[in-house]
């Protein structure tokens, strides 16, 4: 029995091989420089004062004592943001967006979640800064909070924003509301589809707020020079996004903001928002010194992330033969303190695994007194899948259908139109379902008391977006690869592999470096499973540019027309004169003497998507005395497209699965009745440890993406989607009772028993 299987369609020389990552030695020796590791001359330590209340009006802030505190160099509040001096008239239609962005960074009139930044201090040391923030006096008028999506949608719920109106299919509501937006997707005729069904099942589901849980807390260091140049060093998934956000909030030209991405200790979507960077910049501007801000773990929980808690309703109609005839879905997602939950993505993913003739999805984006939600791996998709896949599991039970067979009968494939519009090109869900059905895990019956098996599928778009790569040929025949994609889990390797493959040279002859925003073209975040796909594409394009230039140079050296020269597998040759032949290395050596060096450049924005699907199988056992769930066996099958580096593809799948296991079984924000988080430490917010888990088996099904030169699809998002419903269904089978709220805690299981 093999634990990690790769089902390949095509083989390449470098792509698809398990190379050592270029940053590996630095990371196993402790030498790699993460954001918190930076040291600068004259560096000050900062500390943020945060709201103790979930919802309150700020009546006054007095920073006098703090400013006079020992070692204190600067104190800032929302009044120091340029926004404070701007008026609604000046800003026009941009007012509310900018107000929300600014108030999120530093609260002005109201605090909207416990942990909301109110003020910040820069001092000689961390301890002095911590002491100084305690000297800041804030007077609050405490207001009742709205903590869950259902509560906040009630007509008499406490309002977070008195100027937020529901945007409903392009119209604004008459009265202010916590419902920021209502959106809808529809196809076919749902009512008709329901009449065609032999069985209609309608259920409600809930999921709790969970955190991305990266081990490295947020950090930001800023130095605002006297000439107006603002330099920022931070751990972020998106240095260019930080640059835009900082420039936007500080009303400073983008060209005067340089963001240097340090190594990053995990993000999963949660390290895109600029939380600390604008504050560090303000403190630096005021003190004239570089300032470093670090979040504590409690601050990470209380003021960054989380993924939204949800309430969902799913109605599915199916025929006796197991064909879906109609789907009617409502998703209500918590946005946190400001609008912007991923409910739209959740809605687009909810039915993406299936060919649904008649479907309707309503989505609500609702503000609540929790931290503003952030992206978390396949944002919106896991929650929606929990609801939809759980209903499908109930239907399979009711109709006596095999869950893999049911999914095969309805599976999305080439030509199928998603409810929100796009039509699939070649995708690999059917292949994944078949691989799951043929897998030793699925073919081995699960025996024993209190045990259950669950199966579920999941989807993510894997969109491209902008990336930029420069490739410079060195005289020794190696290549420097300059990229803007932060390496969060091995992407230096996967990008370098694609460049090497295209140039026909060896993997270790390409040396990748991630650089700051001044030194490379615009590159979107490392996230959404786009990096290996889109930045890989940029590397391919830059390599093609190098090849073009090398062909020109060879033609020049041989004094022959360009059309006579060809480049293949790292060798330049004359099409008709076999004497004229040079390897990449031989030509590289001659470049400087024959017209100068060669640099290939590319800026891409790939239009296609790398749509990817996963199918997971889980076996688990429930202890009827304690309610504890033990995962016995787990297999994840995924259409990764071409797996550029199979080890890191497996790693993404395994890591996503385990985050999903945590989400399904343990992880949850607990709030008291005043809306204060009660479990803001790793002791009480319980993420899976090595002891909680078995090995996670993987099957990579390589159905090449027709929209990428090497067939890459992207990997990281999908594996967090199926675990929620797979585990929910497995527990339901083990205990004979349906669990419709996540996490399924031991307490919930004991109650159900």
């Amino acid at each position: 029995m093999t634990s990690n299987i790769v089902l390949s369609e095509v083989e390449y020389n470098v792509v698809g091989k398990r190379h050592l990552r270029p940053d590996g030695v630095d990371k196993v020796t402790g030498r790699a420089q993460y954001g918190a590791d930076i040291r600068l001359a004259g560096l000050l330590a900062g500390k943020v004062l945060r709201s103790p209340h979930a919802h309150a009006r700020i009546k006054s802030i007095d920073t006098t004592a703090a400013a006079a505190g020992p070692g204190v160099h600067a104190v800032v509040t929302a009044g120091d943001l340029p926004f404070a001096a701007l008026t609604r008239e000046e800003l026009g239609g941009d007012y509310q967006r900018l107000k929300f962005a600014n108030n999120h960074v530093l609260a002005a009139d109201k605090v909207l979640f416990k942990g909301h930044p109110v003020a910040a201090v820069a001092a000689e040391s961390q301890h002095l800064a911590e002491e100084a923030v305690k000297l800041i006096r804030v007077e609050y008028e405490v207001l009742p909070p709205a903590m869950t999506v259902r509560e906040a949608m009630e007509p008499d719920a406490p309002l977070l924003h008195d100027d937020l109106y529901t945007s409903e299919l392009g119209q604004l509501s008459e009265r202010p509301s916590n419902i920021a937006a209502h959106m809808a997707f529809a196809t076919g005729d749902v009512e008709l589809g329901l009449t065609q069904a032999d069985l209609v099942v309608e259920r409600e589901y809930q999921t709790a707020s969970v955190h991305q849980g990266y081990i490295e807390p947020h950090n930001a260091t800023a130095f605002w020079n006297a000439d107006g140049q603002l330099n920022i060093w931070c751990s972020t998934q998106g240095p260019f996004v930080v640059r835009t956000n900082v420039a936007d909030i500080l009303r400073h030209p983008v060209s005067r903001v340089k963001v240097t991405p340090m190594e990053i200790g995990g993000g999963f979507g949660g390290k895109i928002t600029a939380y600390l960077e604008p504050i560090a910049a303000l403190l630096s501007q005021k003190s004239g010194r570089p300032v470093k801000l670090l979040m504590s773990r409690t601050e990470v929980f209380e003021a960054s992330g989380p993924a939204p808690g949800t309430w969902m309703k799913v109605k599915l109609g199916v025929t006796r033969e197991g064909r879906i005839t109609a789907a009617d879905i409502t998703l209500a997602f918590e946005a946190g303190a400001y609008p912007g939950s991923p409910v739209m993505q959740g809605a687009a993913c909810a039915l993406a695994c299936y060919d649904v003739p008649n479907g309707r999805i309503n989505g609500y984006d609702v503000v609540v007194n929790k931290p503003k939600t952030a992206a978390y791996r396949a944002p919106g998709s896991p929650q929606a899948a929990f609801a939809v896949e759980s209903v499908i599991d109930e239907i399979c039970e009711e109709l006596g259908l095999d869950p893999v067979e049911f999914r095969l009968r309805n599976a999305a494939k080439e030509g199928v139109r998603r409810v929100e519009g796009p039509v699939y090109r070649r995708v690999g869900l059917v292949e994944c379902l078949e691989a799951a059905r043929n897998h030793d895990h699925y073919r081995t019956p699960l025996e024993g008391e209190n045990r259950g098996r669950g199966v579920a599928a999941g989807f993510w778009f894997n969109r491209g977006f902008q990336s930029s790569v420069n490739l410079t040929v060195n005289p020794d025949g190696t290549v420097n690869l300059i990229e803007g994609s932060v390496d969060i889990g091995g992407s230096r390797a996967t990008i370098a592999q694609q460049a090497a493959e295209t140039l026909g040279i060896a993997y270790d002859e390409v040396k990748p470096t991630v650089v700051d925003t001044d030194s490379i073209g615009y590159t979107m975040v490392t996230g959404g499973s786009r990096t290996t796909f889109a930045t890989g594409w940029a590397a391919i394009e830059a390599a093609e540019d190098v090849k073009r230039q090398l062909v020109e140079r060879a033609a020049k050296i041989w004094d022959t027309p360009i059309e006579d020269v060809e480049y293949a597998d790292g060798v330049l040759s004359h099409k008709s004169d076999p004497e004229l032949r040079m390897t990449f290395k031989e030509l590289a050596r001659q470049l400087l003497g024959t017209g100068g060096g060669v640099t290939g450049v590319s800026n891409v924005d790939p239009a296609g998507e790398g749509n990817s699907f996963g199918v997971h199988i889980v076996d688990l056992e429930v202890d009827p005395d304690t309610g504890k769930v033990t995962i016995l066996r787990y297999t994840a099958v995924q259409d990764a497209g071409k797996a550029v580096h199979p080890s890191y593809v497996e790693g993404q799948m395994q890591g996503g699965v385990v985050q999903g296991i945590g989400w399904a079984l343990n992880e949850e924000y607990f709030f008291n009745d005043q809306g204060q988080m009660m479990n803001s430490s790793f002791l009480d917010y319980r993420m899976p440890t090595a002891l909680d888990l078995p090995m996670i088996d993987t099957v990579i099904v390589e159905v090449a993406n027709p929209g990428h030169p090497y067939g890459v699809r992207g990997v990281g998002e999908v594996p967090i989607v199926p675990p929620l419903p797979a585990i929910g269904s497995a527990i339901s089978h083990a205990i004979g009772s349906r669990m419709r709220r996540l996490p399924v805690t031991p307490g919930a299981i004991l109650e159900a028993l």
Partner: protein, 158 residues
């Protein structure tokens, strides 16, 4: 500075003197006073293991040890694991088995693993999972970490 204490200790075999405030943790001293940033902070309250060091032969979370407690002790950090000849087999195994993604947890895992294998060169999967339960990794799902530890055993026992 008032109340600063002079501490004499040994770090990675080197006699080391430093000044620290009594309230500073060993983690702070390593990172902020001595500039040894290989030891990472993930929680500062003993629950993630990113700051793991060897303290007189036992592994500890350095965020829960005071700097002044280092007086007269022998400390090994991630910076002391590799030798001038090259990586330690545990480091090599982590690298070869793709046992790190973001790498922030890696120093803690490597220090903890090295300590385990020095005491129990044949630890099985269950024992490894038990030993490493104090080290959180959010990226890998632990599969490849456990495989790397088993591979390191093979390398060390060869």
């Amino acid at each position: 500075m008032p109340g600063v204490v002079h501490v004499q200790t040994t770090i990675n075999g080197n006699p080391t003197d430093f000044l620290c405030e009594p309230r500073q943790s060993l983690l702070e001293v390593l990172r902020d006073v001595l500039g040894m940033t290989g030891t990472k902070e993930g929680c500062n309250d003993g629950n993630c293991g990113a700051c793991t060091v060897v303290f007189d032969g036992r592994i500890v979370t350095s965020c829960l040890v005071l700097g002044v407690e280092a007086q007269g002790k022998e400390i090994t950090t991630i910076e002391g694991v590799a030798s001038p000849e090259g990586l330690h087999p545990v480091q090599q195994a982590f690298l070869e088995n793709a046992a790190l993604q973001c790498g922030i947890c890696t120093p803690g895992f490597i220090v903890a693993t090295k300590a385990l294998l020095e005491q129990e060169p044949d630890a099985d999967e269950g024992r490894i999972r038990h030993w490493l339960a104090g080290n959180l990794c959010r990226c890998t799902g632990y599969d490849k970490i456990v495989r790397a530890v088993l591979d390191a055993e093979t390398k060390l026992n060869a």
